[in-house]
Every structure is written in structure tokens, then in C-alpha cells.
Symmetry: C2
Amino acid sequence: MRPVAIVGAGMIPFGRRDDDNLMDLLAYASLNALDDAGLGDKGVDSVYVANMGAGMLNHQMSVASALVDRLSLMPAAAEAIENGPASGASAIKNGLLAVASGYYDVVLVVGGEKMRDVSGWRATDFVASMTHPTAEYIYGITLPGMAGMFTRLYMEKYGVTREHLVQVAIKNQEMGALNPYAHVESRITHEGIVDSWHSRVNNPPVADPLHLYDVCPVSDGAAAVILAPLDMAKKFKKTPVVIAGFGQATDTHSLQERQDPTDLKAVTLASQQALAMAKLTPSDISVAELHDAFTILEIAESEHVGFFPKGQGAQAVIDGKTKLGGQIPINVSGGLKARGHPVGATGVAQVVDLVWQLRHELPEGRQVKNAQTGLSVNFGGFGNNVVSFVLRRGE
Amino acid sequence: MRPVAIVGAGMIPFGRRDDDNLMDLLAYASLNALDDAGLGDKGVDSVYVANMGAGMLNHQMSVASALVDRLSLMPAAAEAIENGPASGASAIKNGLLAVASGYYDVVLVVGGEKMRDVSGWRATDFVASMTHPTAEYIYGITLPGMAGMFTRLYMEKYGVTREHLVQVAIKNQEMGALNPYAHVESRITHEGIVDSWHSRVNNPPVADPLHLYDVCPVSDGAAAVILAPLDMAKKFKKTPVVIAGFGQATDTHSLQERQDPTDLKAVTLASQQALAMAKLTPSDISVAELHDAFTILEIAESEHVGFFPKGQGAQAVIDGKTKLGGQIPINVSGGLKARGHPVGATGVAQVVDLVWQLRHELPEGRQVKNAQTGLSVNFGGFGNNVVSFVLRRGE
């Protein structure tokens, strides 16, 4: 495999974007990444679009072909990649392998989702369409429902408490408030959350023991990266960021088939593969973006990746080890919790945020000092298809 | 790029498969390909699923992750690839690049579609969701409608007549009748079609000048291939088929933006790329599978690929040049017209049929004698994203 670098990165603010349709979101993020790389409408060989809901939510298919026309990139190749909430990382992976093969040089990968075209329950049902159709979906399970049960098991096994979860929410909303691309811009205070604990108004339960502030919002948004062979990276404007490692692993579709449902095997395996390929260990990582669709997932993933031993991720949050300036800053972007979770965009947005960190482009208060390496975990289904990257600042 | 071979191929009969859901179709075709390669549930590194309608037609997403579990291939990587009716070839392309990169060795690519879950007009509307949303879809255009207008223009420019189209239909249904995997199993006669020309019962108009027998059916079905590095191919049971060339090109999303709408630029470009990579010319090809979703497309593509000069493809059909035993046998499988067109399956099925031809496995009456090379054209949108392969019989 020839080494591959990220030579352009772009995003648009996540949130409610009532005036933009899906194609607008994809186009705006792509243009930001193309501009960032110093590319116009020439020189892109192939386009990968990460998306899950174009058909179900927006009644439009073949959006990758449509985007190539919208951006005047014809006759570039194009396809859409779907892997649920890990569609973004899966699309980057396919772009990576395409460049690594030597067949393509410059690849645009853009992830986007226009989720607010449908009402709240329809968005939840849309996401639930990735659960097992006969073992799970028909019984009315949703992703928040799964996360609630997972949280309860994690609490029982490892002594995680509501207080730990609250601290994740506070940390990520605090960082989100500093991120101009974040959906949730408001800070929350410990007092605010805890005081309203039994209130159905301020922080109502979503799926016990998870409340509103434990759950990512339903967002519109898009993010994009430009990939190129590392030996071409000097032709572009910005400091290249090398994709040093990559991993992907699947697990059982149905949660009930896992011997220990608190064991997110695919997270462990995918991140181990990515770290091994990069010849790094968890302690070598400067900054991480983990898939905190629910607060418990940030804690669980921080342990499964190996930043902390099993059962110690929750205390690490309380101790400030996952904050900016801590042992391993996690979700300095605000994470899915605050940046938002436009499903197809998320895996790309994680990588874009790491690229900005590794280029040292972020303002003080958001920049991890002298960040050299980054790790992302993009979590598909309920952990049944996980993709992880290790990125390294290039020369 | 390291050379890649197809070491396993499988299909299931296309048609109405009321007792099978989408996951069944994907699983059965995959198992046939795994068996054909002599693989069990070990040794597959990655799975690509080509599909367009899982969400819109079957209300299930993340089918690639689901399939990995269904086939006990965990922790293999998995994702779904969507490129409209060219999803199948796009998925093979991504599998090809993944193996060519050196990252994966053994990749399963399966394409499938369960279209008969919805009623007729919903299937047509589903397919129309890949037209331009504001320039085409909102005005009620469908793919048959586009094909009708395209046919009229082609008739005017090149003197194509109804008689030419009828001959394509007769040829492909004749071959389909011999193919145990074909949806349409009945032969049609010239007298039958022409006699019923004005009958709304036997051969009603669909989109003038196209009638029922000019249009592929709405089918359920799936097809699969196993890819591996050529230097590993001897480990498998069957004669390897090398992916000698590959091409892909996009064109304007909206038909009206093409200077000459009869010029299928993406077909020309994609097939030229594939032939150039294989270092072959059209006259070197033993057998071809072209995307005859409408009879006119077989004629138009046969010219755009370069089998015949522009304007001579129609006469070539009358002269028998595209029949088994002719100059270049096209759609010996029956094509989309008779084998059927389960959208995500088609591009994979084309390649499976070519693999069987190049292995010399088909019975007399279907086998192209001593076939050494094959070419496929998989046509996405209305020619706005076309993928072509050139295959070569290995040692």
C-alpha cells in the first residue's frame, strides 16, 4: 500500500439547516475541503459520499453521481457508501484503499445527512432500521433504547453512575460551545442537570437511565476530506496529515447474541488494528474523537481503545483526564453529543476535527498543544461495524 | 496495483421471490459464490454489498453489517455501495481496489435487490428517485419515460426502427429461456410482437415508442463474486478469471444538459478506460454483457463501446452479429431484458455470467466457444455513472 495523506478538510456548521437540502450540505462541505486543498473543479479522480438516509429521509438516491455534476467534477468516478452511523469512516476507508492501490490519486470523501426533513419519531425509526429486523426491530427497540440497556449493564458491571455520565455531557457541551461547527452551542452546568434530574421539562428521561443530555441531537450537516498519495502531498497548500493506521471490525447484529453485551469487541479490534498498523500504542495518541452518540459510549470506548483499563474510564472523566490538557483529550470538538450527529457526516467530521488538531489550526482553548497523533472511533449499528483511524501529523 | 482475480461466482434465480426477504437473497447468492470458491465461513476479509433500495423498499439499513453476521463472517469488514443501477459494478470496483491495494486478500462482493416488496408504481418511483430532483423528478419523469425520449432521438438520428428493437427483445428472451437464472423464461416470436403491436393487452406501450417487451422486468434477485489476488488464485477450486481492466465515468445528472443526448459519453469513456487498462480493443472481446434495461440501450451501448460504428448497431442485430456465434455475442444470458434487473444485483450478475463464459462452464447453446475475454457495461442513472469491466480467462 502506498502511503496516503489527507490534504484538504472542510465542514459546515451542523444543526437545523432548514434552507439547505441534502445536495446543498454535501456540496458546501465538499467545496470547503476542495478550497482547503487549493483544488478547483479539476483534478479529482473519484468521489465517495457517506450517507445513510438519502432514500428514506430525502427520497433521493444516487446522490454521489448527482454531487459530481453539482461540483462539475465529471467524469470523476462516484459512489455512495453506507455503513449506518459509521458510513463516514467507511467512505474514508474506501477512498484510502482506492488511493493506496495506485488507481486514483485525488479522492474527495464527503459525508452528509439531512435528518430534519422528517419529524422526530421518524428520525428515530429511520436509525432503528439498522437493528435486526426480526430479532430487534419488530419489538420496537430503538438505538436510545439499546443504549439505555447497555448503560444499565455497564453501571452494574463497572460501578458507573449517573454522575459520571453527567460529567461527560458537561465536558462535551462546554467544548461544543467553543466550536463554531457544533449543533449544540449552550453550556450546561452540573447544578442545572442535577437539579432538574427528575424534571421532565429540563432533562427528561429518554431511555432510562439515559436522559436528554446523554443523547446526541438529530442534526443536519456534512464534512469532507481530500485524500492523495503522501508523495503528492507537497503539491497542496496545507500540512499533510497521514492516515497512519486503519481498522474495521464487525460483531453480531443482534445485541442478545453477544456473550457479554458490555464487551464492545469490534471497538477493541478496530482500534487495535489501526494502532498496530501505525506502530503506536494508546499512550502515544495526542487527541481522540470517540463516538459519543450516548454519554456511556465515550466512557466505554475510552476503555475498549485502551486509553484506560476496563472500569476506569468513568473515573478518568471525573479526574479530568479526558479534558483538553488532560492525559488524553477526548472529543475536544464537542463530540457527537454537542457537534451533532448527522449520521453519514459523523465519521468524516471526526477525521476533519483531528486534521485541524494535527495541523495546529485551532484557537487556544480548543487546540491540543503540539498534537502529533489522533485516533477516531466511528461506531456503526450498536457496535456491530466499527471503523477506527490513527492519523499522524506529516512533514 | 497487484492483479486481482475472480475466484468464485454465484447467483440465484431472478424473478418474483415472494418467500425470500432481501437478507435471504444476499445470503443465498453469497453462499453460492463461497461454495464455488471452496470457502466456508472463514477467510473472507471484507464484504461489499451492492444495493439501492434496502431503505426505501425494505425499510432496513446497514445490510452489509447484517450480512456478515448472517454468514458468520465476523469480524470481516463490511459496507454497502450505492450507485443506482450500477451499484453492482461499483461494489466490484471497490472490492477490486481493496484487494489491489494489498490491504485485503479475500473479498466477497454481493449485489441484491428485493423490489417486489412494493407495488408496480412504487418500484418505478423508487427508481425515479435517482433522476434530478428539481430538474426532472418533480415533473414526473421516470426511467422508462427518459428511455422513450432517448429512443425517439436515436431513431431520428440513426434510422433505428421498431423492427430493430423487436429483434433485440426476441434475441434476449430466446437466450433468457435457456438460462435457469432468468426471470423471463418465455420466448417471444416476431409474429407475436408485431401482430399485437397496437394491442394494449399483449404488448402495451410503456413510454412511446417503447412497449412492454422493450423494458426489463422488476425483479428480485442477487449475485455474488469472490475476489482474491491473482497470485493466490491457485488456492481456489476453479479457473480464475482476471479483472484485466476497469473503467468508470460520470456525465451530467440531468439529460437536458447534454449537448447531444444520444451521445452516452460515460459509456464510451468507461469502456475505453477498461479496454486500455486491459490493453485490448473491442474486436478482441469474445462476449459482452451490456445494460439493456431498455432494448435501445443494447444497441446504443454496442456502438458506444466500439463493437460497431455509430448508427450501425441496429443493423448488426438484424444481421445476427450480436447473437451467440455472431461477431460479438451480446447478452447471451438474456440480459436485463430477460434475466431481470434487481437493481443492485445487475452489475454483479453481468460479471458472474461472464465468469461462467470464460470458465467455459455453460452448456452448448449458451456457451461462447473458446471465450477468452469478456466486457460488461453497467449503466447508472440514465448514463450519468457508468462502470465497465474487461475480464480475461486466467491460467
